[in-house]
């Protein structure tokens, strides 16, 4: 029996070595990855022990750490929690972080490499190291107006400064209170989390950048931009706009919303087609210029890629390699075309900024704990989407939309406003989404804005104009009144 016993003794050694190798992997090689996992309370705790830096709007903190009694040295509070919820995100012991709390964590927690010297000097001075601060580009008035106007309906507003790309308002509705997820009480946090997770309206979802929608008629701006950029069209060009358009290769017909032709003898101008949001004229225009031309134009505005503002946006999609009936539908923002609210704001901003799309950004600057600026965002050009001349023609068309077309509710007395309504069909019997994109003043705009209301209650083009345009107008006014 001794031979098997000796072998078993060897087998025991093998088991021991297996345990030791695995432990070395877990505790040495995999340790950092485990420390970074969301919900690792130990990592959060070590960060709770140092004062996490604030997130600010101007000089006002929208997320701040204050000393507290009890288990943790600091507690994270959000003074206007639900107003800035999707910007700050939450900072949870159990569920990790989101928003700027997540993407700017290294600055806020003070673990960024650039803060190494600061950390060491604090350590040598015997003081607890602190985190740096993150200053956003948001305007409190615009933000507040947007949230108030959304009235808790599912939707989003994104306002941008067309000349810089700075984001002035980013609101997603319904919103949530990040204070509930920063509670040092684990039970409270758990309860708040499960309530948010089970909410049918998904309050944690940032509808302004993380969700894509069919852009509907607002996309006609891109199709018009593509046509004008070919040089073969002007805003006065005559287009074929019947009451309904027979789609090629099929027996289906694409109708206008009101069932009427867009002009006498089925003829209309590009300007008028945009003003009254004529489906058949723009769909036919898309068929004539071809899908590749529209796709190229869409990508110049930012479609088919995502933006890091530094929160990552969802990728807006314009499909390539599609057949002709699909091209007709895509030209009016239906079929597989998908856009974030941010993307449609960029289209409006680019048109307003003489065809130049600026890279969108939410963080104005980051500072170290000593208030020295670490990083200040300088506005950069994303692309020259259209020429200044094409941009001017598009702007004029958008002005008529607000003056005498579908977007009259966006008009601001004494200010020339350019806008475009949209009503995006969802199919499967759901009511369409109501869209509005605009900028003001039309010449040299200070603000561009995109608004969506999910499942707007009407079925006609009026929906975008009736539900979304007043919100856009209020937000633009809030910015212009600064």
């Amino acid at each position: 029996m001794n031979n098997p016993l000796r072998k078993l003794s060897g087998f025991a050694a093998v088991l021991l070595i297996a345990l030791l190798i695995n432990l070395t992997y877990v505790q040495v090689f995999n340790a950092n990855a485990l420390k970074q996992k969301p919900g690792n309370a130990r990592t959060v705790l070590s960060e709770y022990d140092r004062q996490r830096g604030p997130i600010t709007v101007g000089s006002k903190s929208i997320a701040t750490s204050t000393p507290t009694q009890g288990q943790f040295s600091y507690v994270r509070t959000y003074p206007e929690g639900s107003l800035y919820a999707h910007t700050t995100g939450y900072y949870s012991l159990l569920y990790g972080a989101s928003g700027l709390e997540r993407v700017e964590n290294s600055i806020l927690s003070g673990t960024d490499d650039r803060l190494l010297v600061d950390r060491l000097s604090q350590l040598l001075a015997g003081r607890a190291p602190k985190g740096g601060s993150v200053q956003t580009t948001l305007l409190p008035d615009a933000q507040r107006t947007a949230l108030r106007q959304l009235k808790g309906r599912r939707g989003a507003v994104l306002a941008i400064d067309p000349s810089t790309g700075a984001i002035l308002a980013m609101v997603s509705s319904p919103t949530f209170d990040p204070n509930l997820l920063a509670s040092p009480n684990v039970a409270t946090e758990r309860e708040a989390w499960s309530k948010l997770q089970n909410d049918e309206d998904s309050p944690l979802l940032n509808r302004s950048i993380a969700q894509v929608y069919p852009p509907g008629s607002t996309f006609k701006l891109v199709t018009a931009a593509a046509a004008l950029s070919t040089g073969k069209y002007t805003k006065k060009s005559s287009l074929f706009g019947p009451a309904s358009l027979k789609l090629p290769l099929s027996n289906n017909r694409l109708p206008n919303q009101n069932g009427k032709a867009c002009g006498t003898n089925n003829k209309t101008t590009l300007e008028n087609a945009i003003r009254i949001s004529c489906n058949t004229a723009l769909a036919n225009l898309g068929l004539v210029i071809g899908n590749d031309v529209i796709a190229d134009q869409a990508e110049k505005f930012g479609f088919n890629q995502s933006f890091d503002i530094p929160l990552s946006s969802a990728t807006s999609v314009y499909p390539r390699d599609i057949d002709r009936p699909q091209t007709a539908l895509s030209a009016i923002g239906q079929f597989d075309v998908r856009s974030t609210v941010l993307q449609m704001a960029l289209v409006a901003a680019g048109i307003g900024n003489q065809g130049v799309v600026m890279k969108p950004y939410l963080v104005a600057q980051t500072r170290g704990p000593d208030l020295a600026v670490l990083d200040a965002t300088t506005p950069t050009v994303f692309s020259q989407a259209v020429s200044a001349d094409v941009a001017a023609q598009l702007r004029d068309m958008m002005v008529t939309v607000v003056k005498s077309g579908t977007g009259r509710r966006a008009a601001i007395p004494g200010v020339q406003v350019a806008g475009k309504t949209g009503t995006a069909q969802q199919g499967n019997g759901k009511p369409p989404h109501a869209w509005f994109v605009s900028f003001a003043p039309a010449k040299n705009p200070k603000v561009a804005v995109a608004v969506i209301i999910e499942d707007g209650d009407g079925s006609t083009e009026i929906s975008g104009g009736r539900l979304a345009a007043p919100i856009a107008r209020a937000v633009m006014e809030a910015v212009l009144n600064q």
Binding site: M1, N3, P4, L5, L8, A18, L19, Q27, L34, G39
Partner: protein, 466 residues
């Protein structure tokens, strides 16, 4: 068959001084740990330091004196190694008590009774039984008489928790007996009984099991009727798995049975058959039982549900990661975040505060303990002693591997106690009896052979000598 007595007891030094020295060293290191835990957590000296150190010193000194008196030739490493593990366990439980007290204070509740003191009481019971075994059991071969009594007792103990009224389900596994204020986990004692049974049974049956065989597809297989006990063990293990939902104990018993069968018969075909049966059983259990499937899925993808089903293992991994190579230091980590930190996950506590270095030390202690056990098995002068010591060693190895492997995600997590370290009386007491039996067998193996008194038969034989 080889003769079980192959290692002649050449070294008959008693080495009791070495044992005492190691024991004092273990107590000194643990005392430092006990103080460090309090200083680290609350920055104050432990109030019950002299009570604990005094009690432990008294207990282990008693055990040492009992060995001197009743088993003077016993292996000198067994007592200090087991005592050191027991003491490390006390330090870790004390450290977790501090966290529990702080939590209760924050919540405004009364500070709970210290589990370290309860564990110390159980240590006393363990040492009393250790001494009792040495005093009463002067020769381990006496146990062979109780082969079938042990079987009946073992099976009874295993089945008891399933009975209504006295059986209790804790954390989803039906493993406990509740008698008034005391709860008791009979599987630990059943483990001992089954080792005694297997050693006694295999001593008698091993020749039949080893020699009689049939050849199937070029592989030597035991005869059908000899397969009986193996199948019974398999069915019993599966029974534990199904009715008590205790994967760990099922795996431990089955592994013990197969390995001891291999030791007794020296036939590798048992290992092959056993592995096949195990894989088949595990596969069947995976598809038949939700909880087995869940354990397995959690093992493969712990981060798919880190706050739900995988909470325990994920917290354990976080603790280990926080510990790194040298650990956070006693009292300076957050081992209380891991559920069941005092019992099933005590190794996660050790890994967090003592680091990889501390875990290596603890695992090496287990390894040396098991190696000494196998050595004792090899040097035992009788086949029963060999199988008994072998079985006890196998159980230590398997149990440590199953629980530590589970806690560190090397294998799926199953609920088992870590010998000597985990909080819990039944486990601690059973493990001290294991050490007592090993001490007894090693004493028998190492003490000088009784002087050969020539019998009359011998004399007669010698007359015929040419």
């Amino acid at each position: 068959m080889t003769n079980p007595v192959t290692v002649a007891p050449t070294n008959i030094k008693q080495r009791r001084i070495a044992e005492l020295f190691l024991l004092v060293l273990a107590i000194a290191i643990s005392t430092a740990g006990y103080i460090a835990a309090s200083l680290g957590y609350t920055n104050t000296m432990p109030t019950d330091l002299w009570l604990v150190v005094g009690a432990c010193s008294g207990l282990f000194l008693t055990a040492h004196l009992a060995i001197r008196k009743f088993a003077p030739y016993a292996d000198p490493l067994l007592l200090p190694l087991a005592a050191f593990l027991n003491l490390i366990g006390l330090v870790l439980i004390h450290r977790l008590d501090l966290a529990d007290a702080a939590r209760a204070e924050r919540a405004g509740r009364a500070i709970p009774r210290a589990d370290a003191i309860a564990q110390l009481t159980w240590t006393a019971v363990g040492i009393i039984l250790f001494v009792a075994v040495l005093v009463i059991l002067r020769d381990h071969r006496i146990l062979q008489r109780f082969t079938y009594t042990a079987l009946v007792l073992g099976v009874t103990l295993l089945v008891l928790p399933l009975l209504p009224f006295i059986g209790t389900s804790i954390n989803g596994a039906r493993l406990w007996l509740r008698l008034g204020p005391l709860s008791f986990q009979p599987a630990e004692m059943a483990k001992l009984c089954l080792i005694v049974f297997l050693a006694g049974y295999l001593v008698v049956k091993r020749d039949a099991l080893a020699t009689a065989r049939s050849r199937v597809l070029g592989v030597d297989l035991p005869r059908g009727r000899d397969l009986g006990p193996l199948l019974i063990a398999w069915v019993a293990s599966m029974g534990v798995l199904v009715f008590q939902r205790d994967l760990g104990t099922a795996l431990l018993f089955f592994g013990l049975f197969i390995l001891l069968l291999y030791v007794a018969t020296e036939r590798r075909s048992w290992l092959l058959l056993g592995s096949i049966l195990f894989v088949a059983g595990a596969g069947l259990a995976y598809f038949a039982f939700g909880h087995v499937q869940q354990r397995f899925d959690v093992w493969l993808n712990p981060f798919s549900d880190p706050n739900g089903t995988a909470f325990q293992i994920v917290q354990s991994m976080f603790g280990l990661a926080a510990g790194g190579v040298l650990g956070t230091g006693l009292g300076l980590g957050n081992p209380q975040f891991v559920p069941f930190a005092k019992t099933d996950f005590i190794m996660a506590t050790a890994g967090e505060e003592l680091g990889l270095a501390g875990l290596i030390v603890i695992l090496m202690i287990y390894a040396v303990l098991a190696q000494r056990g196998f050595r004792i098995a090899v040097s035992a002068r009788d086949a029963f002693g060999t199988l008994l010591a072998g079985g006890l060693s196998i159980v230590i190895v398997l149990q440590v591997f199953i629980v530590v492997g589970g806690v560190t995600r090397l294998i799926p997590l199953t609920g088992l106690t870590t010998p000597f370290l985990s909080y819990g009386g039944s486990s601690l007491v059973a493990n001290w009896i294991i050490i007592a039996l090993l001490v007894r067998i090693s004493d028998g193996a190492r003490k000088p052979a009784p002087p050969i008194r020539p019998s009359r038969d011998d004399a007669l034989t010698q007359v015929v000598q040419l």
